[in-house]
Subunit: 334 residues, 2 copies
DNA sequence: TTGTAAGCGTTATCAT
DNA sequence: ATGATAACGCTTACAA
């Protein structure tokens, strides 16, 4: 920058003004500076800028150690976030969750990041308290029990469930079941499971539909077990919503093996998953897609908006994914 | 740091020496400095340090826009990389691949990163040239056609294929097929596909086993098509290696639907995938796991070793994943 | 072993 | 509209 200033015959301050467009500069000098920059192939140093401006324009993605997932939604989320950040002149760093929540201080306290995006937020999330206490700007993916003071973006699980029920009800179904994960210690207070369950029962009740919950372990074996006992345990059910994709694949696979036809005997909707998982089932499952990339993008846009001061009020937004029809929907059997 | 120095009654330089352990400091002053740091809850500012030392300790993960994958290996890779980086005092940032390879210059030229890890390296990879030209320290995940001058870590596809054939041969199989993706423009020059194919044929030839290649689209439908025509096209085959996990699920699903028993009629091994995908099939497939997290970890360790100068010679390493038995292996039918 | 002081490459304040 | 210059918080010769 010093070199640019010298070549253009101005001071470094002036160069800074044109680079950042932070003060009015006469067209003539601006031109001189710009051509000097081109000539010297000038790139402003991000580190020096960060030190002087006290803003690194780096944001962190705090994500939990990965559970054994089938779909690659985490990667899609990262991609969406990183792309949005790049467009906004920011950079995204990855923070795998420390086992000790207090260790978050180590992360936040060295001045490298301007703010944090918190993934997989629990209803009662200690990380939120820690980060707020540290004064770290924060955007949530998901919500705490009372997220009123925080920016958040969350999946519209309620909308997904209602839409799924809409489709099934339109086909004539009246006997519903929700296949969900058994309560697990590590999912305690995990919003999606709770919200899906509540919504499922509420919507069914409001519409006079019969609803029951089936619990299984979150893996194919769990889904298989339910399929094996379904006709004895819940012979009236004609429509099933499944919240776990691994369980869903085991479930439909075992149904097929037992001669229960999807969709002729039973209609199935997979909630919050991907096209790839849906297609891995036979038949391909109707699915409400988890908009992972969009979620990542919106999370970044929200946090950056807050950091740049371009976001006025709090942002509380729910997003739904598309509904793919698949081949697992049909009217109920007589 | 100034405050710490004042409280400890030393100069900032001395504080710096104890913080970085960069010069001998007498035990007495070291103690005074350390207690002053504790007292003031001192954290060294990463940005100032980076500016002064001309090293940010940030490395970038350059990854391709995500293909439609079933498994979450990309996320595992990220996690492994980020964890290793944290342990080494580094930070990992995400760079989704720019559509224009020349745009890489924009990334590298602002001084924010010390080096990059390149994922999904092609045999002829323009990104490598661009980054080398820019003088960016580089570690490859995968290898170019001639990687002799570069550090790399790659999956030992050759070993995986050979191990899989070992197992099948020990069971008595002599008629093999490799189910792989059709050539696609976007996979042109993609090492794994090529190396697996070459190894497969080479190993079979060396052992006097019959080998043939079946090509399909990289999705469940592709696998289904092959399954549908297998008995006509290749009735002699008793053992199949599958390189694409989406195709693998379609393949075994369609076999089951057609009354071809896995493993009684046909043994199947899934190459380079995850336990979760394996279990999504019925029966669970024998699988050589893709060691994604380890790959990420090793990539970071390699690059950091190079940056810190602790790595002497070039590192060229191949890693294999574990072999999970599954329930898809049996002796060939009579 | 410890201190002094010159950077590192910007931004931002205050003059002019 | 532009320039001088003091931060920003640390590292690192070089001196003592």
């Amino acid at each position: 920058m010093r070199d640019v200033a010298r070549l253009a015959g101005v001071s470094v301050a002036t160069v800074s003004f044109v680079v950042n467009d932070s003060k009015p500069v006469s067209p003539a000098t601006r031109l001189r500076v710009e051509s000097a920059m081109v000539e010297l192939d000038f790139r402003r140093n991000a580190v020096a800028r960060a030190l002087a401006s006290r803003r690194t324009r780096i944001i962190a993605l705090l994500f939990p150690v990965l559970q054994h997932r089938l779909s690659d939604n985490a990667a899609r989320f990262f991609t969406g976030a990183a792309e949005a950040a790049a467009e906004l002149g920011y950079t995204v760093v990855l923070w795998p969750e420390p086992s000790d929540p207090d260790a978050l201080r180590e992360f936040t306290s060295d001045g490298l990041i301007d703010g944090v995006i918190l993934m997989e937020v629990r209803l009662d999330d200690h990380r939120v308290d820690r980060l707020l206490a540290a004064g770290t700007p924060l955007t949530l993916i998901g919500r705490t029990r009372d997220p009123s003071g925080l920016d958040y973006v969350d999946v519209d699980f309620e909308g997904m469930v209602e839409l799924s029920i809409d489709r099934l009800q339109a086909l004539g179904h009246r006997e519903f079941a929700l296949l969900e994960e058994v309560e697990r210690a590590d999912l305690d207070g995990y919003g999606p499971v709770i919200r899906v369950q509540e919504t499922f029962h509420a919507v069914c009740a409001a519409r006079g539909l019969r609803a029951r919950t089936l619990q299984c372990t979150p893996d194919p074996a769990g889904g298989r077990e339910i399929a094996a006992t379904l006709q004895e345990e819940a012979p009236e059910v004609t429509a099933v919503l499944v919240l776990n994709d691994r369980a869903a694949l085991g479930f439909v696979s075992e149904l097929g093996r037992r001669g229960v036809s999807v969709p002729d005997d039973l209609s199935v909707v997979l909630v919050a998953s991907t096209r790839e998982v849906s297609e891995a089932a036979d038949p391909a499952l109707a699915v409400t897609l988890l908009p992972a990339a969009q979620l990542g993008r919106m999370g970044v846009e929200t946090l950056v908006g807050r950091l740049d001061g371009t976001l006025g009020e709090l942002r509380h937004e729910l997003v739904m994914g598309a509904f793919l029809e698949g081949a697992s929907l049909a009217p109920p059997p007589d």
